[in-house]
Symmetry: D2
Subunit: 287 residues, 4 copies
């Protein structure tokens, strides 16, 4: 069990004195820093900063932190946030039939490795209900029919569940339906997908078959935020694994399941710990 | 120094009894097998076999091996070859201005790691002449002008050098000119290129800039046989290396040089040892 | 679902003609070879061979295969076996309190990735009973007291369970008791352990603390057969993962769990598929 | 070509306000920070900080930087340094007969990848003179005889060369003599060795043979600072590479050369860029 901490995440135009001002503010309130990382992006002129402070070293709550910090944030034109490790993020997982990512996330969650709440799973199939419910997690079966208006109703129902559960993060754990553009727009930087290829290679359907046909010598997986452009969202994490000519599509799928689940778990953990900051179509990841 | 060996490479339609017949032939002549590997491709129904025999365990030369083996090869409709480790392949390297792959190959060659002859280097720039000549390797400066007929004359001159040097293998060690289709056709499975991305991602120009712009978390390199379709030839070897948001294009280039040179060296070594067999647009690599 | 296959594994003194004789035998009975791999060990003069044959391509059963093959095996002084993929190996898992390896193995087993039967789990603690029983696997609580004679009774009880379950393979999935020498001797090449370090570094207790104290830059895990010499048995598989100075022992444990479970799963899968052959204190692994 | 920068490295007891004070000092002088990284070590209570400042953004030189910074350093009881990228470190390489690390370092140096001066190479053999001198680097042949007093004279001669060349860093690029304890003591944190195993496994002589005999599935290399305890110094960088049962000691050596040269090059580059801070018997590496 880690000690309670406040995590301050900042993005602003780069200029002299940002770190001095922020760390001066924290030190001025007796704040003890656990971890800090920064990055100045030369291309965009943006500055990124993430600082973890021991909550008890400050004499106030996260909301008071925000109140006191606001003038400084305004001065430097910051986009910023303070999160409190005691308030766990609420995550809803979307899944279809393949369960390797779901099983992995639920295991990590119940073993305490992923610090979040998982109140619900949404699926367009009934197959995984028993497994999910064994974890005392609500299972919502929301089929997605073919017609546009029916599809609209299905996603409206999902939005209703997300709202009721106060979900802050949505994980597509091999969910085989395309998320509508307006749903992407409502949850920017909050929907995380695992794609079973090393993007930008083999975007779209059946990536392992594409990889097999091309004869690549490594296969990979990509964890990314979802945007309206399918498979084009900001990449959070990727990894690859060596294969050879003897590995057919079934073997690639087996190896791929390994990579998918570890890449997704790392990406989600970093997201939950506020380690991922958006930089246009790319990410800054303070690991 | 490895002992002298004959390497038999075979591709043929898959059927029962191929290995029994081939190993029976070798055993019948007292041949001692050093290494053997096989693969049956379910998609194409083709069978691939590679066997290394201790040369002295057979009572005859490579050419006599071929003569005696021919009836068996006909019976099974084999495409096949016997190479003799005492007859080193002759390799000509094409290079432009970047020298990291060239320097690496020449080092491995003079240290004995790459068992081949390198009689000549061809370049469209004069920059690397002194370095190449220090290795007692001939340096041919063949500029490639813009016009089609001038370009034709340049590649004809290169073909003349290749012929004079009896080159069996051509290595494009970051050679920045496109090889004409007819030159590709004249040297099938003999021209090896290193592309500085994890293909099929980032084919074409400036792959490290493409990778930086897309925000990938790993970069890679690909060693492949050259065909008339640019960056589409059969892949021999690939590898990737982790980068992060702090790595700009210069850093990617630096990391990439590492991957390029090791991937190219591995691919070339396997080619020299007859470990790479073509399977349509893909390769079988018996490492 | 893979097609039914017989897997022939052979170890014998190296000499000319082994492969020809074996493949001749198989081809003579119309056997269709799916996969074959061989290795001649120069140091020991031993030869190793593994061949997978499509069961239906032969006109007989595995036991008849053995009967017919025996004279050839005698001729070449082989230690050998034929396994039938239709007869799944029976695996009993030993576990203490840490469940990451157990959970991973049970997931892979119920998803069909590990082709074996898992009739029982034995533990010296009650903690994991509910989880195991959810999988319809018998859970045997066998506490291991401190005194020698009590300990003897405990392991005798475990042997009784193993016998009753007809276990062929025992997996120590982070089992924190030392297996007595006589139990090791009764199950040679059948007890598989996962050690949470890159052996031979950090043998013994608390390897992650040892690794942290030494300041290594990668940590690892090792899957090996258990012999009476603790942490000295033949290594089946190993892997490493990068860490840095910011990772304390807790972080090493978290990263280590990843490596442990993937290394153990690979090692066990290769064992189940008869891909691991013993070569003295080392292994041949035909992946 | 990177812009000129001052790099401030700090180690001190951890307490509140260090970063605020240091960044306040830099910002107060108009300093533009290029890169910053920090680490608080919970075990030792020490704090580590590294900041790169654009030299031209400050109105003064490195020596004036030091003068102005000294009072702050005293206040926080810092061990600290300011280096100027315009003053390249002077590196002397020690080598015996194996040249793969030497060749690699010299290539990276002349290609501009390693920003340092290499005025001299010292060797106990004459073999590599021509290669070294081709790079316009002085070659000092200093044989190391068996007797203690002769050995003393040899190392005294080496110290003389180091002094004459004003060497700040000594790289043992597969140098096969043991450095005397007093020489280690004179150059703390300045002598870098490459050991051809994944330490602490296989310390001492012939590590690839040790690895082969143990049957490990990965081999590695370790770059570390040299102390009087052979192979026990603080580890800077390590890496591993997969091998298999078919790889004999020669193959391990070949694979090992790859790992050795890349691990040594990374370790040396980080050292030259003041990214490596000592933390007792361990290192902090701000990559």
């Amino acid at each position: 069990m880690l000690m309670r901490r406040f995590t301050l995440s900042i993005t602003c135009p780069d200029r002299i004195g940002i770190v001095a001002a922020v760390t001066g503010f924290i030190a001025g309130h007796g704040g003890s820093v656990l971890e800090a990382a920064q990055h100045g992006d030369l291309g965009t002129g943006r500055f990124f900063l993430r600082i973890e402070v021991v909550a008890d070293s400050l004499g106030f709550s996260a909301s008071e932190f925000k109140e006191r910090f606001a003038p400084l944030a305004d001065e430097f034109d910051m986009t910023w946030n303070v999160s409190d490790s005691a308030e766990r993020k609420r995550v809803v997982i979307f899944v279809s039939k393949e369960d390797h990512c779901l099983a992995d996330l639920l295991y990590r969650w119940r073993s305490g490795e992923l610090e979040c709440d998982i109140p619900a799973v949404i699926s367009n199939h009934e197959d995984l209900r028993a497994f999910v419910e064994w974890h005392d997690v609500a299972f919502h079966y929301v089929p997605v029919p073919g017609g546009e208006s029916d599809k609209g109703r299905a996603f409206a129902e999902m939005e209703r569940v997300l709202g009721a559960e106060q979900a802050e993060t949505i994980v597509l754990a091999r969910y085989m339906q395309i998320i509508p553009a307006e749903m992407c727009a409502r949850h920017p930087g909050q929907i995380i997908n695992i794609h079973h290829s090393f993007l930008p290679s083999f975007a779209g359907a059946r990536p392992y078959h594409q990889a097999f046909d091309r004869g690549v010598k490594l296969i990979g997986a990509t964890c990314h935020y979802v945007t309206a452009d399918l498979d084009e969202g900001p990449i959070i994490e990727q990894d690859t694994y060596r294969i050879d000519h003897a590995d057919g599509p079934d073997e690639l799928r087996r190896v791929g399941r390994e990579i998918e689940r570890s890449v997704l778990a790392r990406g989600l953990r970093w997201h939950l710990e506020d380690r991922v900051l958006l930089n246009g179509a790319k990410t800054i990841v303070f690991t």
